[in-house]
Amino acid sequence: MSGSDAAQPDAAQPGAAPLRGQPAERIAVTFARVLRGAGLATPIGNVLTYVDALGRVGLDDATAVYWAGRTTLVFAPEDIPLYDRAFRVFWGRISPGDLPPEPEVQRITLALDDEDAASDTPDDAERTADRDPTLVLRFSAAEVLRQKDFATYDDIELRQSQQLMEQLRFAGPPRRSFRNRPARNGSRPDIRRTMRESLRAGGEPIRRAWQEPGQRLRRLVLLLDISGSMEPYSRAMLRFVQAAVAGRQRVEAFALGTRLTRITKELDSRDPDRALGRAADRVQDWSGGTRLGECLRDFNDEWGARGMARGAIVVILSDGWDRGDPALLGEQMQRLHRITRELVWVNPLKVTPGYAPLARGMAAALPYVDHFVEGHSLAAMEELAAVIAGTTSARRRDHPASPHDTRSP
């Protein structure tokens, strides 16, 4: 795992020679601009620290200059390749053309109701109404929309569905917090408050105060399949995911395709259109293939097993079509099942007449799924929200999914 070592400048490189004579501030600010251009958030405060750092290590040793920037300007391992590229271009005076091309970014346009959308919509009045932020759906219309299959939505319906999704509540079962809170009939003495109250009585602890353990929301992790086969549904489901991320605390969201992309930060906004746009930019493999097994493995390795999925409710939104090895998917599902509190699979195809989980991936994953629910319509998503909130009487996990699968209580 010494990938970044290769990116470090070799000793033969002339270091910062071409920039000699320039003050460090100037060099730092220019380099920061290059970094921003490469897509790295570089706040001015850190640039100042970088100037200080350059002052300490000097400009003669290329390796020291490299690390001075790495330690003051880069804050996530994912950003290291970006920094390395920018560093080579700026300090090595390599023209960007000499570098290996960046992976091509594939973008899709989400059905956002932009002002500059195609103006050939026949009914202008309808468009205006649609843009109205206070638009309220009449009950009947909402009811039709609720039952309608996502795959048959047009752009306007997609947008209307957003408002209904925002009304969903994703509370979820709480778990005991480490912290206590005051309670009249609590079980633990609250010495701090007893003490304060006793002062009023001249030091006599007449009134005893009590506390009890507080409650906290369990983490909710949403894994959305954005592969080609899911395309009719992933646009609507992304809105659902966005509503969940913006609607409560402790939610994490990932996109699964040919690779795993974390989209929590992008989606965390009160403005759904901006959030969806940012997520669309971030994800590079829209409507490509699916490698569910590999993606879940990456999730388990990078995030899940480290703590994010422990004791959490994990929801996978996918049709289960997988080009990868079903054995790998099964193995990773088992692993995930062991550390989560509840593992929910949402399959938009479940409602299809005659549907049986025949997709090999789905069949491999099913033994480890606690709740297998539909996901084709708003009504189904409401049901899903209820499952997450623990308000349905859906089956709880009561026996291990396989003989080898032992769980800690």
Binding site: V57, T71, T72, F178, G202, G203, W303, M308
Partner: protein, 338 residues
């Protein structure tokens, strides 16, 4: 920490412990020079105290000390993040003050708390001697909120520390704490000040060296990250790992150290649930040393596999992959370089 005449037994012990530790550190260790002059200085000093940093880590530590900024270390479990703080305290001779974070940690566990039991006792005593009647409630309350009733936790200890050497504050696994705690921490790490409403402000005469670690179970807040210097700790490369093993397990001979490092490198490439970290490499070498092994063989690897791979599935995968082949490569690589 000062001893007071009416200190209870527990207090006395804690205070004496801390004082003894300080004395020991003053006696035995060379105190860090005012400031290291280059990253190479840092690397050399840490190596002397039993830690082999790579160039990047040495530069980060150098800058953190020189610029008086906290250092945030992220990386896989077992790459030696926590060890950095320990070696820093050995080097500087400063006390290591460790704050282990967990979900729900709050000010009373991280900063300070009042010793309510002793406050109550004080009240009862005042009452029994009739002193309570003589003074007013306000005066009684003042008596209660004195420094001697204050239980100083890690953060306050690090801030109000007065001594020759700068303490090292280790804030371990910050990602396990909640956002609110992070926000509070940001405040403390910006001004190195803590206010206790009843007593006033404590501020550091010399800010501690602060090391934060995170396993990335969630993102640390950007504002806190911006306050810190950042270093992503990687697994060491082969040669460095050999040197680490030799340094930490001196009774392992060079060829065996090379074999172990090579085998661990092979294991890391197997797509395991938990690839072995440096900590596991050291454990493994130690186990082999205790067993009196001088050269790796398949039987010994099988017998000691549990010290490197802690999941049954990982062990199965390693076996499927062939321990014999792994041992063969390791032995070849273990041969001294000519």
């Amino acid at each position: 920490m000062t001893l007071t005449e009416d200190a209870s037994g527990a207090w006395t012990v804690i205070a004496l412990d801390a004082m003894a530790a300080q004395h020991a550190s003053r006696r035995n260790l060379t105190v860090m020079p005012a400031a290291p002059s280059s990253p190479a200085d840092v690397a050399e000093a840490l190596t002397r105290h039993g830690y082999l940093p790579d160039e990047g880590l040495a530069t980060s530590i150098f800058l953190a000390v020189a610029l008086k900024r906290p250092l945030l270390l992220e990386g896989e479990a077992g790459v030696g993040k926590t060890e950095v703080a320990k070696v820093l305290s050995r080097w500087t001779g400063g006390t290591l003050i460790r704050l282990q974070c967990y979900e729900g940690i709050d000010a009373s566990q991280a900063v300070y708390d009042w010793d309510y039991a002793r406050q109550l006792l004080h009240l009862r005593a005042a009452e029994a001697t009739g002193e309570a009647r003589g003074v007013g409630t306000a005066e009684l309350e003042n008596q209660l909120y004195q420094e001697r009733f204050l239980l100083k936790r890690a953060l306050l200890q690090a801030i109000e520390h007065t001594g020759d050497s700068v303490p090292v504050l280790l804030i371990d696994e910050i990602d396990r704490a909640d956002d609110e705690f992070e926000a509070y921490l940001l405040e403390v790490l910006s001004d190195y000040q803590i206010t206790v409403p009843e007593l006033g402000r404590f501020s550091a005469t010399r800010p501690p060296i602060v090391v934060l670690t995170s396993n990335r179970t969630r993102d640390v807040h950007d504002a806190l990250k911006r306050r810190c210097l950042y270093h992503w700790v990687e697994h060491p490369d082969f040669e460095r790992e050999v040197r680490i093993v030799r340094m930490r397990v001196p009774n392992v001979i060079e060829p065996l150290a090379r074999q172990v490092a090579s085998a661990v490198e092979a294991l890391r490439s197997l797509n395991l649930y938990k690839p072995p970290g440096v900590a596991e490499t050291i454990d493994w070498a130690q186990a082999l040393a205790v067993l009196g092994v001088s050269e790796l063989d398949e039987r010994m690897v099988e017998a000691t596999l549990g010290t490197v791979l802690k999941y049954r599935e990982d062990q199965d995968r390693a076996r499927q992959h062939g321990l014999a082949a792994m041992v063969k490569t390791a032995v070849e690589r273990g041969a001294p370089v000519r």
